[in-house]
Structures are given as C-alpha cells and as structure tokens.
C-alpha cells in the first residue's frame, strides 16, 4: 500500500509552517525604519497579485488530484475490474460484525452499516490508515478497496461512539 499522500502532506505541513513563520518573522522584524505607506502598498499589492495567481494554480492542481482520488462508488466503480468480493459490515456499540474475515486479493466492496449510532470504519495495515468510510444507521456506505498485499488488516472505529470507542476494532485477512 502506498502512503504517498500522508508523507507528502506531512512534508508540506512542515514546509508551510516554516515558510509562513519565516514570512511573519521577516515582515515583523522590518517595521523600522518607517517608509511611505503608498510605496509599501504598491509593492505589497504587486506581490499579492502574484500570490493570488500562484495560489489559484496550486489550488486547481490539488483540487484535481483530490477529485481524481475520491473514494466514492460513482467514481471508483469505473476503475473496478471484475466482480468485487463483497463484505457486509454491521457496526454497533462497540463491535464490528463482518460477514467475511478472509478476503481475496483484488477489489473488495465493504457494505458498511450501523444499527445504533454513527461509527467510523477505518482499515489499517501496519499502522497506516489505508481507507475509511462512515457507518450510519439507515444508510449503506459502499467502500471499494483494491488489496494488493496479503496479510492481516485491522479495522478501527473512526467516529466517536461512546465510552468504549477506543477498543472497537476487528481484524480480517487478505489471502
């Protein structure tokens, strides 16, 4: 499983924090000597225009990547090859009841439901969150996951559901 997004976001958070703090420090340490406000605004507005266009381009790119990687059935089903293996999941305080605990490699569809309150269905492999959806009464959320690595996977609840929320977990195996 790839953790590219997590790693890229982790790096971008660090870089953005350093850059923003550096900009604030740079500006904040240059309040002296006083300059004419008009000349400062002219230069500032020019930089602001450049920042605006830069932000627009980056936002459009990230928005496009985000939409492409949407996990919703309407989008993912077009990429699913063959008939997916289906697992029905009923969530309740504080357990998951899964129709299958062994699934084959390839596309698996989890039909996730709940019968009391809202829960979260988060699939973990080796400590990394690889996919998730919500479990809500009266609705079925269909989550498609393409398993390429065999082994043990864990499921943890990702929506606070009460006192034992932190121990609401189960396991399944990809053969």
């Amino acid at each position: 499983m790839s953790h590219t997004i997590q790693i890229l976001v982790g790096v971008s958070i660090l870089v953005s924090t350093v850059v923003i703090a550096a900009i604030f420090w740079w500006v904040g340490s240059r309040t002296q000597p006083q300059q004419d406000y008009k000349s400062v605004t002219e230069r500032g507005y020019r930089l602001r225009r450049e920042y605006f266009w830069g932000l627009l381009i980056v936002s459009i790119l990230l928005f496009g990547v985000g939409i492409y990687s949407f996990p919703y059935p309407q989008i993912v089903e077009s990429r699913v090859t063959g008939k997916p293996f289906v697992v029905k999941v009923m969530s309740s305080q504080f357990m998951f009841d899964m129709s299958e605990t062994e699934v084959p490699r390839g596309w698996v569809r989890f039909d996730v439901m709940a019968n009391d309150v809202n829960h979260g269905f988060g699939i973990y492999k080796d400590g990394w969150l690889i996919a998730q959806t919500q479990a809500m009464p009266d609705y079925v959320n269909r989550l498609y996951v393409n398993f390429t690595e065999p082994g043990k996977y864990e499921v943890w609840c990702l929506e606070y559901c009460g006192l034992a929320h932190h121990i609401m977990m189960t396991e399944f195996e990809v053969k």
Partner: protein, 480 residues
C-alpha cells in the same frame, strides 16, 4: 450618553466579560490538558471521566472564547456603531446559565459526547450517561444559540441602522455606490457578514436541538440521520469559523492603531469577505466527505469551498496585515504581537485545514483534525482574544508590558505549536482522535504532547495572572 463615555463603558464591560471568560477559558483548557496527560500515559483516567473532561474542555473553551471574542468585537465596533449594552449583558447571562448546565450534565449526569456529537449519541450512550444528561447538554447548545442570536442580531441591526444593510455588507462598495472614504470601516463590514453567516448557522443548530428534544420526548419520532448530520455540521463548522472571523474584525480595527496606518474598506476587502461568507458556508460539507451516501455534487462542493476559503483569508486579510505593519515604524508591544501571531496561527492552521479537506480519506477523524483546529484556535483566535484584552488595559489603564507578559506569550506560543505538531503528525501516521487509550504504537506522540501541553498551561496561567493584575490599574467609570 456621550460617544466617549459610551465607548469607555463598552470597553469596561468588555474588560469584565474578558476577565471572566479568560478565567473560564484557562479552567476548561486545564481539563483538556488532564485528558491529554492521561492519553500520554502519565496518569490513568477512567474512560468515562476522560470523556467528561474532553466535553468540559471542548465546550468550555469554545464557549468562553466565543463569548469573550464577541464582547471584544462589540468593543471594536463601539467607535462606529451604538450597540445595546443591555443585550450584551443578557447574552452574557444566558452563557452563564449554559456554563452551570454544562457542569451539571457532565459532572452529575456523566455526559461525555464532546462538543462535536452526532445524533443519536446523546440518547444512546450504551448506559454511560442518562438520557436527561443528553437532553440537558442539548439545552446547553440551545443557550449558546440564543445568546449568539441576540449578539449577532444586535450587530446586524445596529450596523444596518447606521450605514444601511447593503453598505454594511460591503455590497455598495462592490457595486460602486460607496467609495473607501464613504464606506463603513472594515470592522463593520466583517462583523455584519460574520453575524449574518452565524445567524444562518444558528437556525440550523436550533432545528437539530428541537428535533432531538422531540425525539427524547417521543422516541418514535423519526429523524433522518444524514439530514441531521448535515445540519449539525453546518451549525458547528460555521460557529467555530465565526470565532476566527470575529477575531479578524477585531484585528482590522485595532492593529492599525499600533501601525499608525489606516486599514480602510475598499472593493477588494468587500469582495473578499463576501467570498468568505459563501466559502465558509459551502466548506461545512467537507465534514461529511466520508459519508459516501451524500450526493456526489455535495462532496465536490465541500472540497471546492474549502480551497475557496483560503483565498479571502490569505490574499486579503493576512497579506493585508503584513503590508500594514511592514516599514510602519511601529514598535512591538505585547498586544499587537498577539494580533500578528494570531494571524500567523490562522494561516498555519488554515493550510492544514485545506489539506484535511483535500485528502480527507487519509485524515478524517484522525488526530490531524484536532491538530489543525487547535492551531487556529489555540495559537490563532486565542491570541487575538488575549491581544485585545491587553490592548484594553493599555488604553484604559495605561498599562505597560513587563517581562512576565512576554514570558507568558512565548511559552504559550511554543507550547501551542508543540501540542498541535504532535496532534498533526500522530494523525498523519493514522492515530484516531478521541481515543481514551491510544492505539498501540501511537502513544509516543501523546507522551511528547503532554510536555508541550503543560508549557501551554504555564503560559496561559501567566497570561491570566498578568491580565488580572493589569486590570487592577483600570479605574472604574463614574456613573457606573
């Protein structure tokens, strides 16, 4: 009542409300630190006690910050608009009732859903708390709704009465009917837009409370789970964002006084804040990105709105503040430093918020979420709140900064970024939020966070002590 007397009296009330709310803020922050200390493995709280503490912390900090910031926004508006002091005090009284009810439902009713709860958890706790505690918690939310409704209605009505509704919303600037010289100042435009946006969210929140109370009285009453989830997030998301927007209004009014430069309304400011109104309204949908049954168009709009929200905040407000202070000749006292660093916290936390919305599958309901909102609340809005309180003691009491004031600021800052960094990176590595006991293998982030959390406690305690000391220099007004 003369204008200057009115302004001083408003400042006095803001100071008083500020004193009570900052103490409440510190006390409820402490509950969060205790909960985090337990997550870090230094002490062992029972899960029920931990979730009660988390509820007291989240609702207490959010409520005290919102109340304090509202009072300070009122003060910031007082130079331009006459607001009702009686309504301000009524609003504060209702918040007082909410605080008492919160204490009863958590400490006596063992209620522990946290600030963000989803229907029907208040009434289906698997025996952890009684249903009456859930109902009382909903009444706490209703008190907040009523209090903020009074506050925000007063802002919209008072600003509209003086400048006209279209001018107060900045529309006349956009249409060219106002010029920067004739338009209302930014604090009026931002406050009006914020108040109107907030009022819409309050309607949504009140519907959720009433529906749930009906369900409590009559369990056969059906509420659509997806519909109420949308309403709850629309309410909660906007309410917390409006805290930051009210802070922006305060900064637009007070930072120029230190910079010695005007920060006037213009077409760009008006467009940006009207854009912010639309963006923040759309962006609530990113809270439901893992609800796959939500219409696909809503998911696209949710992500779009989140990216859109970054534009007015950074392009106009944050860059505008940098332009304002650059080569202004100003000297950094503690108050403007808080404003400046508060905007920095907004920028850093805002970037993480956009990442959360853009790549939600990896971060939803992980520790990344409290990571980003703690950044713009603990190191953003809270800084503006404290900065405005310090400003008031400067203005009314002639207070000057001491070494302790600066120690309070920098320890708070260092502690806050340590806490939020641990939240964010544990979230990046998959740690779920709101776990009484951390998932195996993820405890180390909580352990490190505890050290920073106690640095925050030190900083906040010092700030509160210094603020209360500075307050003693403010002389009461005659005719009080």
């Amino acid at each position: 009542m003369t204008d200057s007397f009115y302004q001083r009296r408003t400042a006095g009330i803001a100071l008083g409300i500020g004193a009570i709310t900052i103490v409440l803020y510190g006390a409820t922050l402490f509950f969060g630190v205790i909960a985090r200390t337990s997550q870090g493995g230094f002490i062992e709280l029972r899960p029920d006690v931990l979730y009660e503490f988390v509820t007291l912390h989240s609702v207490g900090v959010a409520g005290s910050l919102m109340t304090g910031v509202t009072a300070l926004m009122w003060y910031a508006l007082s130079k331009h608009v006459r607001l009702s002091m009686n309504l301000m005090l009524i609003m504060f009284g209702i918040i007082g009732a909410a605080v008492v009810s919160l204490l009863v439902c958590t400490l006596m009713g063992y209620y522990g859903s946290g600030w963000t709860y989803l229907y029907p958890l208040p009434f289906k706790s698997a025996g952890a708390w009684d249903e009456w505690a859930g109902a009382l918690y909903l009444l706490v939310i209703m008190c907040v709704i009523i209090a903020m409704f009074i506050a925000w209605c007063d802002v919209v009505v008072s600003c509209s009465r003086k400048y006209g509704f279209a001018s107060s919303m900045g529309w006349n600037l956009i249409w060219g009917n106002d010029t920067p010289d004739t338009a209302p100042p930014p604090v009026v435009i931002i406050s009006t837009i914020t108040a109107l946006c907030g009022i819409m969210a309050l309607f949504s929140g009140s519907i959720t409370v009433v529906q749930q109370l009906i369900y409590w009285a009559n369990p056969s009453y059906y509420i659509d789970y997806l519909f109420i989830k949308n309403l709850i997030y629309y309410f909660g998301h906007i309410l917390m964002n409006m805290v930051m927007y009210m802070c922006a209004a305060i900064v637009y009014e007070l930072l120029p006084r230190y910079a010695g430069r005007p920060w006037k309304s213009n077409k760009i400011v008006a467009i940006s804040w009207n854009t912010a109104f639309i963006a923040v309204t759309l962006a609530y949908l990113h809270h439901l990105l893992q609800d796959f049954v939500q219409p696909l168009a809503f998911q696209v709009i949710g992500v779009f709105g989140s990216y859109m929200a970054a534009f007015p905040a950074t392009v106009v407000t944050i860059i505008g503040s940098l332009i304002l202070v650059y080569r202004s000749g100003m000297k950094w006292s503690v108050a403007p430093l808080y404003f400046f660093l508060g905007l920095m916290g907004w920028a850093i936390g805002g970037f993480a918020a956009v990442m959360d919305a853009g790549f939600n599958q990896q971060f939803h309901n992980t520790m990344f979420v409290p990571g980003h909102f703690h950044t713009y609340l603990l190191a953003g809005a809270s800084f503006v709140f404290v900065g405005a309180l310090y400003h008031l003691t400067e203005e009314l009491g002639g207070c000057t900064d001491t070494f302790e004031d600066r120690v309070g600021l920098w320890t708070w800052l260092i502690g806050a970024y340590g806490v939020t960094a641990m939240f964010m990176y544990s979230g990046i590595f998959g740690t779920p939020r709101r776990y009484a006991v951390q998932m195996p293998g993820t405890e180390v982030y909580s352990t490190i966070a505890v050290y920073f959390a106690w640095i925050v406690v030190f900083g906040v305690t010092m700030v509160i002590a210094r603020y209360l000391t500075r307050l003693q220099r403010v002389k009461p007004l005659r005719g009080w």
